[in-house]
């Protein structure tokens, strides 16, 4: 989690000196944003990718959710709370996370689908986020397991994982303080673009990942691994917050939809 606020020599020139035609913005020979203002996949700057959710996909689990966010497809499953092993906490529930990918989820076949450095980092991050968001005090001596499986990857895996886990937790009926929403923002051609796909993410543009609890207005996690001017940084932060709120509304709608379906059936 690094927040690089830039004061160094690289960005000494003022922002307003940059124009949209500045050569530094051309990275690999094409524009990410066309002259008409559309991105490569036809979205506007502040438009999310397609978002689709279905619940109860794993009947034996306590909560499960299959999510499609753009080209990213993943499955989040929750087992628990159940009585954990002796190492578990006497006061509150322990959350564990297991992240894995399918070998066919990226364009080049993966030989190692779990346990590499990247997935271990992601596991830790998700565990930490949900240890905060879930009201773990309600379940002393218990353990809750999160299982995440990426079926098709589209750039950043962390954000869809957080969102899908939130929905799976809600599906499992485990008490949470709030939703947890996460999204990325990039800065290209002097504009903030939200919800980056794989192509946009591979560009060497500044990127920021923000995870919030939208109704509490809390920031859960924030990472920005490039050097940006603090004006741009604030702009990106605003854009990320707006993106998360959009996402929150979509997630809320999905949960309501599920509740209504369940009410009709029960």
């Amino acid at each position: 989690m690094t927040t690089a606020m830039d004061t160094s020599s690289v960005m000494k020139h003022k922002r307003n000196e940059l124009t949209s035609t500045s050569t530094t913005d051309y990275i690999s020979g094409f524009d990410l944003i066309s002259i008409e203002g559309y991105r490569q996949d036809g979205r506007k700057n502040d438009e999310l990718r397609n978002f689709r959710v279905s619940f109860n996909v794993v009947p034996d689990a306590d909560g499960s959710c299959y999510m499609e966010h753009g080209n990213c497809k993943l499955l989040a499953t929750i087992y628990g709370p159940y009585e954990g092993e002796s190492r578990s906490n006497q006061e509150q529930a322990v959350i564990t996370c297991d992240f894995s990918m399918t070998s066919y989820c990226v364009s080049e076949r993966r030989l190692r689908t779990f346990g590499d450095m990247k997935s271990q980092k992601l596991q830790m991050a998700i565990q930490r986020v949900f240890q905060q968001a879930v009201i773990t005090e309600t379940y002393p001596k218990s353990q809750i397991d999160i299982y995440l499986k990426i079926l098709q990857s589209d750039g950043n895996d962390y954000c869809p994982c957080v969102n899908a886990t939130t929905l799976a937790f809600i599906n499992a009926g485990i008490p949470m303080k709030d939703f947890v929403c996460s999204s990325t923002v990039g800065y290209v051609q002097n504009k903030c673009i939200i919800d980056l796909n794989q192509q946009e993410e591979q560009q060497k543009s500044p990127q920021l990942t923000l995870t919030i609890m939208p109704q509490r207005e809390d920031i859960v996690a924030l990472s920005c691994e490039s050097r940006v001017h603090h004006d741009i940084y604030n702009e990106m932060l605003d854009a990320a917050t707006r993106a998360n709120l959009q996402l929150f509304n979509l997630m809320k709608q999905a949960v309501f939809q599920q509740l209504k379906t369940a009410l009709h059936v029960l």
């Binding site: 009585e83 609890m213 939208p214 709120l245 509740l259 379906t261 009709h264 059936v265 029960l266």
Partner: protein
């Protein structure tokens, strides 16, 4: 920002985690499914469900998928996880394991037998790891651990049969949880969502006698007809679970009668479940046992559901 305050006077309102229920914390009490946000002095929902206001108590009731919450007096079906010192550790699909103390079981030889060290040593003779048994919840401790008892000859080790897991919310507490169905099988409806289907008990009267304390099960072979009935019943219960209908002896029999047109292994195919549910609606609209096919208001409750599946 994105949160909205709900009007507590309106009943049956749907909420999601984080929705503010009230900012008047002094006048309302915190029930299940809510938490108080102390920094902002709000009472908020912590789960998705329906708001329920009883006088000053605000609760959010979950609609589906919750772990079993025990209540004293519930009949449950559990599986022995391990044999501990003078107690069995039991899995009953709850959030914590349950315990069956040696002191609250019937030991062979009658009601008032003293429990001596020998009994403690021989615990595995009665129930060992992996054994299924029916019991009643005797007590709930502070941390949510459950204590069971089998001090009744109705309860005890289960022999031959099928165990079906359903949502625990579908099994309501009734006077009787032990049914012997007219189709020739016995059913135990465990409140924890475990349903046990076994051959009718009449043939083996010796099992639940005082001498054995209900811990010896005969393993004589069951005829093929009885087996077919049992498997059909298990599929009927799975259908009820998928349709989200309450599980009573009457509702099981309703589905059982409707299922007679189909082969046993075809029963749980989505298309056939759909047809059966339509038949059921046409037939009654309401199932006799009290399990109401809700929805009404001109909406077909099943068409929705099937798409989701």
């Amino acid at each position: 920002m994105a949160s909205s305050i709900i009007d507590p006077s309106i009943q049956k309102q749907l909420v999601v985690p984080g929705t503010i229920l009230t900012n008047d914390t002094s006048n309302f009490m915190r029930g299940h499914g809510t938490y108080s946000d102390t920094t902002r002095n709000h009472l908020k929902a912590s789960i998705a469900g329906v708001v329920n206001k009883v006088d000053r108590l605000l609760c959010v009731e979950p609609i589906e998928n919750t772990r079993y919450l025990g209540e004293v007096g519930h009949v449950v079906i559990g599986r022995v996880l391990k044999v501990d010192q003078s107690r069995w550790v039991v899995d009953i699909q709850s959030r914590l394991d349950a315990y069956l103390p040696l002191a609250s079981v019937n030991l062979p030889g009658g009601e008032n037998r003293r429990r001596i060290e020998d009994d403690e040593r021989n615990m595995r003779q009665y129930l060992k790891e992996g054994d299924l048994f029916s019991a009643e919840i005797q007590q709930i401790y502070q941390d949510g651990t459950l204590a069971l008892q089998t001090r009744n000859l109705r309860y005890g080790k289960l022999g031959e049969g099928i165990l079906v897991h359903v949502r625990s919310s579908l099994v309501k507490r009734t006077k009787n949880h032990f049914h012997s169905l007219p189709c020739g099988a016995s059913v135990i409806r465990g409140c924890n969502g475990s349903i046990w289907i076994c051959p009718p008990a009449s043939t083996s009267s010796d099992t639940n006698s005082v001498d054995t304390g209900g811990y010896v099960k005969n393993i004589e072979s069951v005829s093929i007809d009885v087996r077919k009935t049992i498997v059909r019943l298990s599929n009927c219960i799975r259908i009820l679970n998928q349709l989200g209908l309450q599980i009573f002896d009457t509702s099981i029999m309703d589905i059982y009668e409707l299922s007679s047109d189909y082969e046993i292994d075809d029963l749980i195919q989505p298309k056939i479940i759909q047809t059966i549910s339509k038949h059921l609606q046409q037939q009654k609209g309401i199932i006799n046992g009290g399990g109401e096919v809700s929805g009404g208001n001109g909406v077909d409750p099943y068409s929705h559901h099937m798409k989701e599946e």
